[in-house]
Amino acid sequence: MARVTAGISCSHVPAIGAAIDLGKVREPYWAPLFAGFEFSKQWIAANTPDVVFLVYNDHATAFSLDVIPTFAIGCAPEFAPADEGWGARPVPMVRGAPELAAHIAENVIQADFDLTIVNRMDVDHGLTVPLSLMFGQPKSWPCLVIPFAVNVVQYPPPSGNRCYQLGKAIRRAIDGFDQDLKVQVWGTGGMSHQLQGPRAGLINKEFDSKFMDGMVNDPEALTRIPREQYLREAGSEGIELVMWLIMRGALEGPVREVHRFYHVPASNTAVGHLILEPAT
């Protein structure tokens, strides 16, 4: 049977992708950030999953204001890196896992989470930057990827609690899939940041630190954070953090913290990263 072997959380700042693509990772500005992912690259080389269920948000790339799905699951065999306005990132094609994705969609919808099914979609930096941070620059990605897009662009996004419960439903669906697959669930975005208006540049280390603690020890407490508290304390774009709770829901129960990294800044953003494994 398929099983969830680990959860990873990771910010997905576009400038990180540009730094990798333009060979700037050793520059003084970027070196401390990439140093925080050295352990992660080694760890994932030894723990490569068959499939990554990758929770991210689309940034006005595949979805405009014409269609705004709250939760969208990518069921296609492949997904092309998107041209976001400055040409597509020079990264490999993302190969999907259509059978597992369809199985998860069917089961999760029957568990009352009304997903949108997407059979054609380009994927933007929200999805490809975490892959680059974890896998570097391979000729092809070493695993299949199920893109799972969450609306955090138009308010209100789904609540943290809804995301957490959805994660649990995704976990049950994966557990019930009749193929021997190692699946990791990644929750991307965050941490505190604000990209708009006179308050742009907001960073709240205290909020971020407590959030990472909660991801490890008390995710139920995090599910009670109201949307407005994210806006106020983690910045208007910090509300992306609800996506981490899908990952945490999919791990259920106690976890072991394998790795934690936090760094300010990447462009306008606080970068947070966790690797969690089921404690049992």
Partner: protein, 133 residues
């Protein structure tokens, strides 16, 4: 209006909700069109003429021509859509963020290197004073 909403008191922040989205639909869809290289070329060749192809308000068009991002946001723009404009101009997110704060880019970048803008509680998120204090 943002002022009548419970999140209307967050300083320097416009929440992109259904009302803003409705107001900014054509502005944001114009931005979206700049993801295609031929459209970027046409826009750069004659910004005014390109904008006139869209059902935007005169205020929205003027804000785009002036690259007044705070104004565009007030008129319904969303930052991820507006990003297509500054990408077309060859500018970064950090450039646009600095512009919106009124800081020059160097000072803004230094603020970020020093840990970013500190969070200051306002309005309803201010800690309640304890009784008898």
């Amino acid at each position: 209006m943002m002022g009548s909403k419970s999140y209307g008191d967050i300083p320097g922040t416009t929440v992109f909700d259904a009302e803003q989205s409705r107001k900014g639909y054509h502005l944001n869809m114009f931005c979206m069109s700049l993801m295609k290289a031929p459209n970027r070329e046409r826009f750069k060749a004659d910004e005014r003429a390109y904008l006139d192809e869209w059902a935007m308000t005169p205020e929205q068009k003027q804000a785009v021509l002036a690259r007044d991002y705070n104004r565009m946001i007030a008129l319904g723009g969303n930052i991820y859509f507006l990003a297509k404009i500054f990408a077309t101009d060859g500018r970064s997110f950090q450039y646009a963020a600095a512009l919106m704060t009124g800081m020059n880019q160097e000072d803004y970048a230094r603020m970020m290197l020093n840990g970013g803008r500190a969070y200051e509680p306002v309005g309803s998120d201010k800690p309640k004073p304890k009784e008898g204090v």
